[in-house]
Amino acid sequence: MINFNIAAWRAWAPGLDSVADWQAWSQQPRLLDASNSAPDVSFLPAMQRRRLSRLARMAFSVGWPLAEGLEALPLVFVSRHGETPRTFDILSDLGAGQPLSPTQFSLSVHNAVIGLWSIMRGETSEMTAVAAAGDGLEHGLIEACALLHEGAPAVLLVITEEQPPEAYARWIDDVPFPYAVGLLLTPGEQWQVSLSAAPPGAPRTRWPHALELLRHLLAGHTSFQHAWKSRVWNWHRTP
C-alpha cells in the first residue's frame, strides 16, 4: 500500500482549463473535440516554447503553476503513448525516403518533455518518464511515493496523453481526447492506494484513470476502484 496527500491539482483538455470547467465536465462527462487547441504557455519565452508540441504544452501548462515557488521538485512524467504525432511524422518521412528532421527526432523520445522541463526551469532534481499501461496513473504514484519516502518534501506527477494520428486508431483505444493532469503530492495519510488481483472480466473504467480521479476528487468520493487487466487499484481517502 502507498499513502500520500494531494496538495493541489491542475488539468487541461480542449476547452477545459479552470476548476469550474472540470466541475461541469465531471458532472456530465462527454467526449471532447480534439481540435488543434493547445494550452497557453506564454509564461515561457518565445524562443523556448517554439518547439513544444501540444503534449509538451499540456504537461507544462498543468505542471508549471503547481511548481510555482518550489525549489528542487522531483518530477514523474507519465504517458502511455507519448509523442505519437511526432513519431508518425518521422516514420512518414522515412517511408518516403526523406531525410529526418533533427528537431522532430530529438523531441520524439519519451523523456524529451522532462529534459525540456529541466532546461527551462533549471531543475536538477530526479525526474522519471514512465510509459505504463492504462494504469499509468497508479504506476506513476508508486514512483512518486518512492521519492517521497526518500525524503522529497513534494513530488510533481504529470499524466498526459496526446490524440494519436488516425493511422493508430485501430490499436489505441484509451485516449478519448488529449488531456493532462498534474498532481502535487506531499507525504501524508490523506490517500491510500493498494493493489489487488482483478476478478476475470473486471470492467475498465469509462475514462482514463487520471480523469476518473478528477471526477472522484471533485465529487468528494472517499473510496473507489480502478481496474486494468489483472490489476485492481483500491483508492481510499481518510475522512
Binding site: R50, P99, S101, P102, T103
Partner: protein, 86 residues
C-alpha cells in the same frame, strides 16, 4: 535586400518555428547562432536540412568552412549561390 536573402530569412523562420519574428527582423549580417538571433545546435541541424531540401545542394557537416557559411544570412546566400553554380 536581395531575393535570395529574403528567401533564406523566410526559410529560417519557417523551418525553426520563429513565430514572433518577421523577415525584416533579421539582418543580412546578423549572427545566427549563439549571439545575435540566438539559435542553437539543433537549429543548425534543422536549418542545414532545410537548405539542402530547398536548394537541392549537399552540405558536408564535417567540412571546416561549413561553420563559416552558417554565420549569417549573407554568408548562407553566398554559399547557396556558389553551390548551385558548381
Amino acid at each position: 535586400m536581395s531575393d535570395l536573402n529574403r528567401d533564406i530569412k523566410q526559410l529560417i523562420i519557417d523551418a525553426l518555428g520563429l513565430e514572433d519574428i518577421s523577415v525584416s527582423d533579421i539582418g543580412d549580417e546578423q549572427t545566427l547562432f549563439g549571439e545575435g538571433l540566438g539559435l542553437d545546435s539543433v537549429d543548425a541541424l534543422e536549418l542545414g536540412l532545410a537548405i539542402q531540401k530547398t536548394y537541392g545542394i549537399k552540405i558536408d557537416a564535417d567540412a571546416k568552412d561549413t561553420r563559416n557559411h552558417f554565420s549569417n544570412v549573407a554568408s548562407l546566400a553566398a554559399f547557396v549561390t556558389a553551390k548551385q553554380a558548381a
